[in-house]
Amino acid sequence: MFLAIRELGFARLRFALMGAVIALISVLMVMLSGLSVGLVRDGVSGLQNLPVTSFAFAHGVQHDSAFSRSVVDASAVDTWRDQPGVAEATPFGNTLINGRTDGGTEVDLALFGVETDSFLSPAVSEGDRLGPADGIVVSPTAIDAGLRVGDTVTVDRLGTRLRVVGVTEQQDTFGHVDVAYVPLATWQAVKSGTPAGAQVPAQATQEITAVAVRAADGDSVDLAAGDKAAGTESLTLDESYGASPGYTAETTTLQLIQGFLYAISALVAGAFFAVWAIQRRQEVAVLRALGASTRWVLRDALTQALILLALAIAVGMGIGLGLGALISGGNVPFALHPQSIAAAAAGLLVLGLVGAAAAVVRLTSIDPATALGGNR
């Protein structure tokens, strides 16, 4: 550390330039992390907030579109309720609708059809809980978009009128659309395309999207056995996120970009320290001649890399968090998650150190005898 710190101070412009590159990568990493978390929240927060451990969809349903394609007979709910380890099971309906307020504002909603007295019925931060047949409880993001408690939304083509009676406690979105909880019978009418005032077909009253299952605390449910008994196909809650529109494509794309950024940071650090190592050949030869061990030389070089990377990442993360705070709350799906930021910082640090280590390891091959005579 004796030499490492003094060199950082002496060649500060060179190290500052290198640090600036790493800091910029860190800023990008915070932005990507924020976008990832924001997109995930926008895509599946409605599912994440459900007190559910798994969904039982129709057997053979395509997993990436299970919520839109699955049709399950409501009788499967009773079969699931009887499965060992299941605390509760209840019908769940899901469909996307376009509507319009009385003021003419266009509204898109993800209708979550639930039984009003079931464990899926949401707590509210404003207004009333789910109850009336035409009542809906909406996500606060819908309120942010201009909807108000008491407003009425008319479903396009069907004319069904849904009245906003309450607001959930936290953001509930599905496929980037605000969630509206609705009584199951109303959901079945909308899903079956029954116009307002018309009789809902008997078959439609028996159809749901999936059975929402909650395992007893500390217990696990044998999903395969339940599926066999109920004729369904289960996905755990985490697996069900992939059935949210665009979720897999978005998260995979962002993960790929993050992966590339990690690789770039390792390459940038490696390239910088490779050049630095070449420039220091004579200096290291002198150090070795004076009695510096290989370990001492490596430790000094890696300490230098660690200090530079840690400072640059801290600065970059700080700037990124500042920019993120400005973006958060706007129209961009952006959310800062401490664990994701910490993981990104640690990843950058470790991979940057790997790149630096790969570069400085060549210092061990420097012959101290080159410090002598006409070898310079």
Binding site: F2, L3, R6, E7, G9, F10, A11, Q282, E283, V286, L287, R288, A289, L290, G291, A292, S293, T294, W296, D367, P368, A369, A371, L372, G373, G374, N375, R376
Partner: protein, 241 residues
């Protein structure tokens, strides 16, 4: 000092000269077959503590190779090298590094100082190379004053003249109180007056501190300060007339 990595001097029959540098029948070859170059050819050299020995000779004669072998930077193909009774030809590079750190001081051409370090830090550096246990040694500021650089402790190499850089280099080499000082062309970049100053300083330090000094030089002007002069030609060492 660890006996595993730094063999103890052989006590029986030790003479005062053995506490300096002793090279016996040293051969160093580079290359193979017809391409073999005899960098050192049966070299015998003894430099006692307090003695300043100069080695002169044309470029490529093997002078730097001699310094490299004497300081444990290179292993000879044959022969023995001892510094203060310690075998400098041990196979372990780590052991040779530790011997070098403890018993050998190097002075390079133009000082070969580290650009990032002040004069005082250049002197602290050798004390830091061995970890915490090796941090005892001379006081850097006193040492700088001793070589005539009082008040220049905070200057970096580019803020010093050639002669001052070389003085810092000499002071740095003496910080660990070595038994042998190996000096490589110390006057190569200096004018005549400064060259005399530097070699006088080396001779003075050799005597005052009982250090065996081997100085490789092209500069015949400064040989008057040396106790012994050797000439090296094609890897062979002979006492100079």
């Amino acid at each position: 000092m660890s006996s595993r990595t730094t063999p103890s001097p052989s006590a029986p029959g030790t003479t005062p000269a053995d506490l300096g540098l002793v090279m016996r029948g040293v051969h160093l070859r580079h290359g193979d077959g017809a391409e073999t170059v005899h960098a050192l050819d049966d070299v015998d050299l003894t430099v006692a503590p307090g003695e300043l020995a100069a080695i002169v000779g044309p470029s490529g004669a093997g002078k730097s190779s001699l310094l490299a072998v004497a300081g444990g930077l290179a292993r000879p193909d044959e022969g023995t090298v001892t510094v203060a009774g310690h075998d400098m030809t041990v196979s372990s590079r780590r052991a040779r590094t530790e011997l070098r750190r403890r018993h050998v001081g190097f002075v390079f051409q133009s000082g070969n100082l580290l650009p990032a370090l002040t004069a005082a830090d250049q002197l602290r550096l050798p004390l830091r190379l061995g970890g915490r246990r090796d941090r005892s040694g001379r006081d850097p500021l006193q040492m700088l004053a001793h070589v005539g650089l009082a008040g220049k402790a905070d200057r970096r190499p580019h803020q010093l003249s050639g002669g001052e850089r070389q003085r810092v280099g000499i002071a740095r080499a003496l910080m660990t109180e070595p038994s042998v000082l190996l000096v490589d062309e110390p006057t190569a970049a200096l004018d005549r007056a400064r060259s005399h100053d530097i070699v006088q300083l080396l001779a003075q330090e050799a005597r005052e501190r009982s250090v065996a000094v081997v100085m490789v030089t092209h500069d015949h002007d400064v040989l008057q300060y040396c106790d012994t002069i050797y000439e090296m030609i094609d890897g062979k060492l002979a006492t100079s007339s």
